[in-house]
């Protein structure tokens, strides 16, 4: 297998994992794709070491997380004023990201479970940025509060509040969507 073919196979194995981490943190399809590209370019630069490493998954996750957090602090803040205005306007309809979000690649035999999972993913995506990032780092990356506060450069109390609020919002949205679904059926 040539180096290029080997790297392509490597990307195929990890692309979903990297993209999932990025899209959950960023909440934006296009930005998540850009970050995933950057992660794989970094991986290509040290592919010789990575292909022999047993911790390659962890390395990719850490790089993805760091790039996403850098992106959020460096670029997103500048445009938050405008994007918040956009979000407020579009909240009544359907948020743009939720429409862009690719359906999870589920092969569940149980359609109901699959629906619930999709609802959860969409509810997560619709959370405000700070709440979503803190919640993703806490529940998906299993990071302690203090580490999240350090990574996000926020106070510990803000992180705890964001996670609690995010969780409340998530629960409420899940319940209301589930009720809607039950009424439809």
């Amino acid at each position: 297998m040539t180096d290029s073919a080997e790297f392509e196979a490597f990307m195929r194995s990890y692309q979903d994992m990297v993209f999932t981490s990025a899209i959950r943190l960023l909440g934006n399809h296009a930005e998540a794709q850009d970050i995933a590209q950057e992660v794989f370019l970094k991986a290509y630069a040290r592919f010789a070491q990575l292909k022999q490493s047993s911790t390659v998954g962890g390395w990719l996750k850490t790089v993805t997380r760091n790039l996403c957090l850098n992106h959020l602090t460096r670029y997103r803040k500048r445009w938050r004023v405008f994007s918040d205005m956009q979000r407020e306007n579009s909240e009544q309809d359907s948020p743009a990201y939720e429409e862009q979000l690719a359906a999870p690649d589920h092969r569940d035999s149980d359609e109901r479970t699959a629906n619930q999972r999709e609802i959860l993913e969409r509810a997560l995506a619709s959370l405000p940025s700070d709440q979503r990032v803190a919640l993703v780092l806490y529940h998906f990356e299993e990071m302690p509060y203090q580490d999240i506060a350090d990574q996000m450069k926020h106070s510990l109390s803000k992180v705890k509040t964001d996670i609690a609020r995010g969780r409340d919002t998530l629960r409420k949205r899940l319940e209301s969507r589930k009720e809607e679904l039950e009424m439809d059926q």
């Binding site: 990307m11 979903d16 999932t20 794989f40 004023v81 999870p104 690649d105 609690a164 998530l170 629960r171």
Partner: protein, 154 residues
């Protein structure tokens, strides 16, 4: 980190979130990465300056600074010399005398060169200075407005 799973508040939600399947990456991700790799493998002079090696980027910035300083210095040196030229005297010279001295072609060249130095060069300089000033004012004002908006939003 996984050792203290019990610490998670709301274990049910935690379980549900952890059970979420991965989201499928877009089909264009791999071709995009491969094409970027191919582009980066090109010789540096065939790639955009932003992707050049750092020393070459610094060299380019230095070269631009030297060229700009040279133009600025040259302009400053030429301006006093241009002011010293008496236009009325030049245009009052009779054609026959000019022809006798250096020929019509030479005169036209001198007039063209003089016009270039006295009118065109200062005009270009003024346009460039005004354009730069206008850009700086717009850029500065734009940044200040954006920063204050972000501060208010925080």
């Amino acid at each position: 980190m996984t050792a203290n799973k019990d610490r998670f508040e709301d274990p049910q939600l935690h379980r549900e979130l952890r059970a979420q399947p991965m989201i499928k990456a877009p089909e264009s991700l791999i071709p995009g990465v491969l094409s970027l790799i191919r582009k980066r493998q090109l010789a540096w002079y065939r790639r955009p300056a932003a992707t050049w090696p750092r020393p070459l980027q610094y060299g380019l910035i230095l070269a631009c600074l030297v060229a700009f300083s040279g133009i600025a210095w040259g302009t400053i040196e030429i301006l006093p010399a241009l002011r010293a030229i008496d236009l009325r005297e030049l245009f009052s010279v009779p054609v026959t005398r000019i022809a006798a001295i250096s020929g019509t072609f030479d005169t036209l060249m001198r007039v063209g060169s003089l016009l270039g130095r006295t009118t065109i060069a200062p005009a270009l300089l003024i346009i460039a200075a005004a354009g730069s000033l206008f850009y700086l004012v717009l850029f500065g004002a734009g940044t200040a407005i954006l920063r204050s908006a972000v501060r208010i939003n925080d």
